[in-house]
């Protein structure tokens, strides 16, 4: 593959990752969110494979595969099961209204480009232009956690942040060492299980997954 085409492909996929991030920011329905999360994982996985091919780093194929199984299949499946069991597939409540959230998200993307411009000038990697996108994905994930009230959406926001970090690692340094990535993957998986268990408990305790309910936990 030509290096130019690879760079184009990389940018194209980055655009899709960002697009799904924005999609998650505006999506009100639970299932829709999970699907968007799965799509984001898929773009990430393909992107990792492409970068691995261009850079000749074969361990990236393993991370790509790992991303595919974990973030495209396993985690969305767990979330699906959670939503079905807890019957929380209704519309998602938001703290800030959707257009406002979109505007903040756009501001964050511009901010990330502004932040990353010196790094982009110094870097010689094929993937350098996507670094800002990765940072924006992280920040949008955090924004999503802030603007949503529902515990499951908070977790999806958290996982989206992790996606952004993974993306940043691939674009900044052609991925982390395999050991680290394996560790992170296991962490994410275990985190998902723990969240699942906690949700059941929170649901039985508060009869809701609205995090506002947890204000009651505060000591006066």
């Amino acid at each position: 593959m030509d290096i130019n085409i690879a760079a184009q492909l990389n940018s194209f996929l980055a655009a899709f990752v960002l697009l799904t991030a924005f999609g998650m920011l505006v999506q009100r329905r639970m299932y829709g969110l999970v699907h968007l999360f799965a799509w984001q994982g898929l773009f990430l996985s393909v992107n990792t494979a492409v970068v691995g091919f261009v850079a000749g780093k074969h361990h990236l194929y393993i991370s790509s595969l790992l991303t595919l199984t974990l973030k495209v299949i396993l985690l969305p499946y767990i979330l699906h099961v959670l939503i079905r069991r807890l019957k929380v597939h209704k519309e998602v409540e938001v703290v800030v209204n959707i257009p406002m959230t979109m505007l903040i998200g756009i501001a964050l993307v511009i901010f990330s480009y502004y932040l990353m411009s010196p790094v982009t000038q110094l870097s010689t990697l094929v993937t350098r232009s996507t670094l800002a996108v990765a940072l924006a994905t992280v920040m949008i994930g955090l924004l999503m956690m802030i603007t949503r009230k529902h515990a499951v959406t908070q977790i999806i926001g958290f996982l989206a942040m992790e996606n952004g970090l993974f993306f940043a690692a691939t674009s900044a340094t052609y991925g982390m060492p395999l050991v680290v990535e394996l560790g992170v993957a296991i962490d994410v998986l275990i985190a998902a299980f723990i969240f699942g268990i906690f949700f059941f408990h929170i649901h039985t305790t508060f009869d809701s997954l609205d995090v506002d309910q947890m204000e009651r936990l505060k000591e006066d």
Partner: protein, 681 residues
């Protein structure tokens, strides 16, 4: 096979650790546990005593490096005569107190399990020994914390009472504020020795050799002084002391008051004379002023107390003040390059350290025996105990005479030496000191007089007269273990008082190493019999001859009164024709101290109320009279209350950040990230 002194002292620490391990195994058999663990503790103390005396007598310095601790930061252990002296003091008193504890702790059997008392007692002893053994900042601070934590649990021993829990918490807070200051002080010294580049400056050896700029050494000294003063209970950091000492078991109070406070004195001497070596003259003046304030305020507060152990605790503040006066004078003289007087001041301070350990230990043991027998700490309820507890009364009296600085006992000698340091000092080139030195001597004299008044009250109200409480409990004399501990204490009070020249000769190596001159206190034609600081024509004292004189007078009086029968007649007390004398009409602790309360009333926060019952026909014939008196420490409202209120105010303000909403917390981190990114770009 030969031993070095440091090995003997370390084996004492190891023996204590072994006891800590064994004690929980004997949990089921409390009597055996008490016998075994306190016997082992006294054996360990004996080992420490041998090692300590040997080190000072030989002027030895030896060290061990233990390959434990953090990587590349091993523990350094070292004894020199200064450390040996403090090990001697600690071991001497802990030997007495451990023997005493065998009897005392048995009083708890059937009331509560004493396993934790035995374990923390041994941990506390080992902590104190390790503090003195430590030769690097890390090991020092670890030992310091072990000591503080162990004594915290000992204060908490009877934890069902709220006053004990409060006292323990206050103690822990003050101890840790002090520990932070000590940590910072060591940090400055260690950092400057290596230019803040490596950790190798943490040993005391490195600090000794370093040339620290004067302003930094002053900062390090002031921090260390603050930290150690908090531990020693120097006014105004003394508030924890009268709370914590009375509520701890009495054997622990004896150790805390007798020797734990002395580790802080050790710290001050170690940091100022040994590690820093140079300090501006006003540092010594600060120590001197703090000592004077503590001495006077301590004794005045002690006079106001009617809880026997609380009274003794305030006397510890006073005596720490007297010790600091000696050390402060010594520091002033060092700064003005007068080594002979500096040595005299240091010896006076250190000798008083030893004496205070012995007599305060004895007094607390006596108070413990009274508490053990009557279950009462309030002196207003006591009286007449001399008939039921003759041994305790006689031994407590010896402690009272010693602490009141009366010859021939030991308190007199060290206070006399401090006076000599005051009186022999020539005109110093500073107007403040010119004022301070005569005033200090006057204040010290005042302190001695007030202390004597206070112990007349303590002894008189507790042991003389008749029982003041409503019904007298079944009082029993202390058992032989407790008596033995107290007898040893009283004997050492006497020996330290009548043979001071011998002991000062023994410890004269310390000023020689730290200042460079011996006092030569016993030099002169008369040898060990006469104590002659500086010059024989100026002042000299012979404890032995004074003791002989007093003995002669007593024997003569006894012979005159008892040889011929009929010289002593027992008749009823003349009651002015009133006819209904009862024990409530005796002088009590409050009435005894009333004149002094009137004179020095402005120093206390006093609330006094006299209330007559309204049904009285005339003011002169009240049916019933209520008298209410509350004396409080002014420092609490001056210094501590504002701090407490300010920190509460700040916490309430900061508490608004904590809303309990996850989104709010996420926004905090989000904003933090954005701000950091903007600034780091």
């Amino acid at each position: 096979m030969t031993f070095t002194p440091i090995e003997i002292i370390s084996s004492a620490v190891l023996l204590l650790f072994l006891t800590i391990l064994i004690a929980p195994l004997l949990r089921g058999r409390q009597r055996l546990l008490i016998n075994a663990s306190f016997t082992m503790a006294s054996a360990a103390s004996l080992l420490g005593l041998i090692g300590g005396v040997w080190v000072v007598a030989g002027g030895l310095t030896s060290r061990i490096i233990l390959p434990v601790g953090l990587p590349d930061l091993p523990f350094h252990l070292r004894v020199d005569p200064l450390a040996g002296f403090f090990i001697t003091v600690i071991s001497l008193l802990s030997f007495f107190v451990s023997l005493y504890s065998i009897g005392y702790v048995k009083g708890y059997i059937g009331r509560r399990p004493v396993t934790s008392l035995a374990v923390f007692y041994c941990l506390f002893l080992s902590g104190m020994l390790m503090v003195v053994l430590a030769d690097d900042a890390l090991f020092f601070l670890i030992s310091w914390e072990v000591m503080a934590a162990a004594s915290y649990f000992l204060v908490m021993f009877e934890d069902e009472r709220i006053e004990n829990r409060r006292a323990a918490l206050l103690y822990l807070v003050v101890a840790h504020v002090g520990a932070i200051a000590i940590l910072l002080s060591f940090g400055i010294m260690a950092g400057l020795t290596t230019g803040f580049e490596s950790f190798s400056g943490y040993t005391f050896d490195a600090m000794r050799q370093a040339e620290v700029p004067l302003k930094w050494s002053t900062a390090a000294f002031l921090l260390a002084l603050f930290g150690f003063a908090a531990k020693a209970g120097v006014v105004p950091l003394h508030v924890w002391l009268p709370e914590a000492h009375p509520v701890a078991p009495s054997n622990v109070s004896a150790l805390m008051s007798g020797v734990m406070l002395k580790t802080a004195i050790y710290g001050i001497v170690r940091v100022s004379f040994d590690l820093l070596g140079t300090f501006p003259w006003w540092c010594g003046a600060i120590v001197l002023i703090l000592g004077l304030i503590s001495a006077v305020m301590g004794v005045l507060y002690a006079l106001m107390q009617h809880d026997l152990k609380r009274l003794l605790a305030y006397h510890s503040v006073e005596n720490i003040g007297i010790i600091l006066i000696g050390i402060g004078l010594s520091m002033v003289f060092v700064s003005f390059n007068m080594p002979l007087l500096a040595a005299l001041g240091l010896i006076a301070g250190l000798y008083h350290t030893m004496n205070h350990a012995v007599f305060k230990g004895l007094l607390f043991m006596g108070a413990g025996a009274v508490l053990h027998a009557t279950n009462e700490r309030n002196m207003e309820e006591m009286g007449g105990l001399i008939h039921r507890m003759p041994w305790t009364a006689a031994l407590f009296l010896i402690g009272c005479v010693s602490i009141s600085a009366l010859p021939p006992f030991n308190g007199f000698v060290s206070e006399w030496l401090t006076f000599q340091a005051f009186l022999l000092s020539p005109a110093l080139p500073s107007p403040l000191l010119k004022l301070l030195i005569p005033m200090g001597a006057a204040l010290l004299a005042l302190t001695g007089a007030l202390a004597a008044a206070c112990f007349v009250k303590a002894f008189g109200v507790t042991f003389l007269g008749q029982w003041r409480g409503h019904n007298m409990p079944r009082v029993h004399e202390a058992d032989w273990f407790m008596r033995f501990g107290m007898i040893l204490g009283a004997l050492s009070c006497l020996l330290l008082g009548i043979l001071p020249a011998l002991f000062i000769d023994w410890m004269d190596i310390i000023p020689q190493q730290l200042i460079g001159t011996k006092t030569g206190a016993s030099s002169g034609a008369y040898g060990w019999l006469w104590l002659t600081p500086v010059a024989r024509e100026r002042a000299s004292y012979s404890g032995m001859i004074v003791f002989g004189g007093i003995l002669l007078v007593v024997v003569a009086a006894y012979i005159i009164l008892h040889v011929k029968p009929g010289t002593i007649r027992r008749v009823p007390v003349w009651d002015c024709g009133f006819g209904k004398l009862n024990p409530r009409m005796q002088y009590n602790a409050t009435s005894f101290s009333m004149p002094i309360r009137r004179i020095f009333g402005f120093l206390f926060n006093i609330r006094e109320r006299v209330q007559l019952t309204p049904r009285a026909i005339h003011k002169a014939f009240p049916k019933r009279l209520y008298y209410y008196l509350r004396v409080r420490d002014r420092f609490w409202s001056w210094l501590y209350k504002p701090i407490v209120e300010f920190s509460l105010f700040l916490s309430r303000y900061a508490g608004r950040l904590q809303q309990g909403r996850i989104q709010a917390y996420l926004i905090y981190s989000f904003i933090t990230i954005i701000v950091l990114l903007v600034f780091s770009r």
